[in-house]
Each structure stands twice: as structure tokens, then as C-alpha cells.
Symmetry: C2
Amino acid sequence: EHYIICGFSRTGRQIAKEFWAEGVPFVVIDSEVESVQKAQGEGYMAYQGDATLDDTLLRVGIERAICIVAALPSDAENLYTVLSAKTLNPAIRAIARASTEEALQKLQRGGADAVISPYITGGKRMAAAALRPQVMDFVDGILTGADRQLYMEEFLLDPAFCPFVGQTLQKAKLRSQTGGLILAIRRIDGNLIGGPTGETVLMPGDTLICMGTAEQLRSLNQILGPIRSQKLRKPKSS
Amino acid sequence: EHYIICGFSRTGRQIAKEFWAEGVPFVVIDSEVESVQKAQGEGYMAYQGDATLDDTLLRVGIERAICIVAALPSDAENLYTVLSAKTLNPAIRAIARASTEEALQKLQRGGADAVISPYITGGKRMAAAALRPQVMDFVDGILTGADRQLYMEEFLLDPAFCPFVGQTLQKAKLRSQTGGLILAIRRIDGNLIGGPTGETVLMPGDTLICMGTAEQLRSLNQILGPIRSQKLRKPKSS
Ligand SMILES: [Ca+2]
Ligand SMILES: [Ca+2]
């Protein structure tokens, strides 16, 4: 049930910082001794090795990992790592960095579940900061960072645990019971319902995209899946 | 009333793409002939020159521009450009790219209104994709892209035009009138009210962070500031 970060460069360090802030168990792999020492100096579990090799991935427990993040210097290494990881553990979630649009497509074809290109992401963010500064400030403020006032979280509705499946939002009274806001519902068929209304019916397999304070999200988690409610990892304290 | 993009590298190209998709008037500056030709080949207005020089900035109309985006190869050039731009037009909004955390701080101190580091942004995005994939998909889907189903927009409440200033959200009935969702309100003192309720009172100078379809945001814009409602630039069509 751990995460693996491949590459402890600037991007990798930022990823580790985020995982650490949210109390996510993770291990770092880097081929350079100094990078490994730097990671260990931050208190992280780190292992020296070539992340493209099965042997290295097996040593960091790839078979039991939930997610691998490939942030190695080259696109070719990231692709190779994604393929190795998916072969050793087909259920693993793989996130990869791509430096070009071409690499982005190859990594997606190679089986990565999400591919991020810092240039594309950075450019989009700069454009958004230019066009809608308040929206960007707001979104930044709720997505990451340790001392957030508001959070976004996703909840999967499991009919075995959630008492509201089959009810309308109006009947479920999630807003008035918890204060949390349901921004959207992703149906099991992929359909997205943005800004659901009181008449929207909760269905089995729905993913609720919610926004609220730590307290509001904890209480949403409690009432949506009372039995499994310990599963909400974040926010870890307050 | 135009935007200036300095640097037509990978980041700069992405910014231009976003501006173009939203119908924002802009001009590109790049010191390389080939980059300028590439930009012109895309149909963009582009000018060859050194963006750190006052002369170049004056030629692209810095005095009448609303915003300058500095995406030049070096942090030093971006800082210099921000300072030049703010000197020539103190009211201009300046967005800059920084390659390191150190540069980020210097650019902020130099007067940039927003600074984006592709490494930090990319790392945060990769961490978020690992931890909350549905949330990230959702946020990506509403922030950028030409064929979006949902949008986010910000509306400044001007008491001279907005008939609801001083009223509660319940009385203003923005949701039931438009279908648009108010995610948060940024007060004029910087205070953020996340997930405002029916009792929240709209105040002069509030910025409303809203989410909805193109149609819903257009109708919100109409009823929030009926006289100035042509000001909503985005979404440009549909
Ligand atoms: Ca990296
Ligand atoms: Ca660039």
C-alpha cells in the first residue's frame, strides 16, 4: 500500500514533499548516491538503483505498491519504467512525466494512467494566471499545500457501505449535514455531471468530487461510507 | 487591451495556444527569427526583438497592454523584462516563469503578479494525479481546453452595476436563476469564503469564483452586471 517515486530531481523532490505533507507512505529510487543521500536527509526512505530494472522495482516492493511516479530525466527511461512496473504489477497506477507532446503520447500508449508535461502544464498555468487570476489562486489554494483552508477530495460510492445510493441529493442532505459542497459526480460510465442539483440521484459506483474544509470532508466521508470511513488519508491532522 | 508573450519556446507556445483558443488579443516577442516565423505560421502576431529592452516593449504597445507574460529562457531575462514592463506601465499585470524556487522569490520581489515554476507546478500536478486522480481530471477539464463542458470564471461585483450587493445569496437566487455554482467568494480584504451558504451576504468588491456551463456563466454574467455584461471574454463561442 505504498507509493514509489522514481527520480529525485526538482520534480521528484516536489512530489516527495507533497506525499510527505499528506502522510502518504513512499519510497524514492534514484541512481545517484548524492540524490539518495539528499532524500534520506529529508527523512524519506530512499534506495539507490536503476528504476528501469525489474530487480530494482522488486526490491522496493513493486508488487504491493499502489502507485509509481516516473520522474526520471529522460522520456525513454520513464516509458521503460512504466512498462516494467505494469508488467510486474498490472494493477499499479503509473504516473509519468513527459518533456514533449510526442513523449506524452508514447507514455500514454505505453500504459501510463496519467502523463504530465511540465511545459504544457506550466504554459496552461501561466495562461490561466494571466486570464483568470482569482480562479487560479483559488484552485492552487485548494489542490496542494500543507496549511490549506479548503480541500478537494473524491469519494467513491460503494453500495455496500453508502446508505444514500439510489436517493436524490435533496434527500441525502449532504450539504446541510456536512457543509461540504459536491462540485460534480463522475458516473461509472465516465459521464460527468457538473454542479449536480437536488434532483440528481446517487448511483452505485459514482465518484463524488467534493470541496470543503478538513472537518467538512471528514464528516462527508463518515456519512458516505460509515464502515470504511478510516480510508480517508487526507487531511492527516488539524 | 492586449497581452504580450515574451519567448516562443515550448511554454510560450502553450500560452499562445490558450490565448488563441479563448480569443484573447496578443503579440509574441522572440529574439530568434525562426521562432518569430513559427509564431507567424500559426497565425499569431509576432515581433522579433529582445524583450528585456524598453524599445522592444514600446514597439509592441506595452503602454496599452493589460498583461505581459515572461517565458524567456533565463530567470534573469524574465526578471529584467518584468521590471522594464512595470516601469513603462505600472498598471500592467506581469506573469513570469521561474526555473528554481530561488528565482521564484526574486521574481515576486521584482514585482511579478504571479510566478510559475514548471518544476514545482509539474511535481504538484503529478502528486495530485497520484493521490486524487478524479479530482485532477475534473480540475484539468474545467480550467483549460477548447471543448470544455464546464468552466470556471471570476466575477467582480461592482456596486454600480450589480443589483445584488448587500443581499444574501438566498435572496439573490443565483443558483436557481442560472444553474451556475458559486464555489467561493473572495472579499475585498483578501478573505476567502469557501462554499458560501444561503446566508452569505454579497459585498461590494467581492470576487465570485463560479463554475458552470458556458450558458450558465453567460447568464450569471448577465444578471450580476447587466450593464457591463459584454465584458465576459470567455467562452468565446458555442
Ligand atoms: Ca525531476
Ligand atoms: Ca518557454
